[in-house]
């Protein structure tokens, strides 16, 4: 069972309260597709992903980025049982989407970098630690139902 300090909870909630989901989600997914191009394999139905400009102006990518961030929002609202909250999502990602779990870490890293850019100096080391712990729990929960 994951133990969260009050400080960690406050940091996580604070980050989400400051995030514009319509901006951060798309930015994180675009960055993942650009920085780690092999992740594009899961988005062949999204149309033109040929270069950075195409990815950044692709409306399906943007829409999906928002979906991802709303998914994370659910984890934030259920921090004491992310494993259970994500059980179905985990099955979806493994059985239907067949996503290599390594990709969750890549997206998590890109999201961290987007948040660092948004928050600037208020993204202190202890905020980063709490945030990365949260993402690690999320990734672990998403990996749970893989077999």
């Amino acid at each position: 069972m994951v133990v969260w300090t009050d400080q960690e909870r406050a940091y996580i909630q604070d980050i989400f309260s400051k995030l514009n989901y319509e901006e951060a989600g798309p930015k994180a997914l675009q960055r993942t597709l650009i920085v780690y191009p092999w992740t594009q394999r899961y988005f062949t139905s999204f149309g033109n992903l040929y270069n950075a400009e195409a990815i950044m102006s692709n409306s399906k990518v943007a829409a999906h980025g928002v979906v991802v961030l709303h998914g994370l929002d659910r984890a934030m609202k259920n921090m004491d049982d992310i494993k259970k909250t994500y059980a179905e999502l985990s099955v979806l990602h493994s059985e239907k989407l067949h996503v290599d779990p390594d990709n969750f870490r890549l997206l998590a890293d890109c999201l961290t970098i987007v948040i660092a850019a948004t928050m600037g100096t208020s993204f202190t080391a202890d905020v980063q630690a709490a945030w990365q712990k949260f993402l690690a729990v999320v990734v672990s929960a998403l990996c749970r139902q893989y077999h």
């Binding site: 970098i113 850019a117 080391a125 980063q128």
Partner: protein, 143 residues
């Protein structure tokens, strides 16, 4: 995943721009490495003070960043150019190469924090590739 001409240009451009902040960038990246990944503190048990603002962290952060900046100058032959540093890391420091990924991640986070408008996705991919190549060059003499 070797560096294209476009990657090299992107890397030189961004590091030229941020070089004047080398101490800030290096020490922030090192501070975050020690704080967010506490297992990395095991390499610095000989330091009195491992906290983010400490003089030792600042000084060593600058040393690391100077190493990164010199790698930019040696970008056309990283293995050859970083030979001595590789020997240092392999035979003396014996830093587990897994830790190179950690400090690289924190360098990216700090660049993103301090230079959000310059650290575009395209610059990000080039810098990520570059740091991966630097890590490979540093690991060269390990075995």
């Amino acid at each position: 995943m070797s560096l294209s001409a476009k990657d090299k240009l992107a890397v030189k451009t961004i590091f030229d721009k941020v070089a004047h902040k080398a101490e800030d960038i290096g020490s922030e990246a090192l501070a975050r490495t020690l704080f967010v990944y506490p297992q990395t503190k095991t390499y610095f048990s000989h330091w009195a003070d491992l906290s983010p603002g400490s003089p030792q962290v600042k000084k060593h952060g600058l040393t690391i960043m100077k190493g990164v900046l010199s790698a930019v100058e040696l970008i056309d032959d990283l293995k050859g150019g970083l030979l001595t540093l590789s020997e240092l890391h392999a035979f003396m420091l014996r830093v587990d190469p897994a830790n190179f990924k950690i400090i690289n991640h924190n360098l990216l986070v700090v660049l993103s924090m301090m230079f959000p408008d310059d650290f575009t996705p395209e610059v990000h991919v080039s810098v990520d590739k570059f740091l991966a190549q630097v890590s490979l060059a540093l690991s060269e003499k390990y075995r």
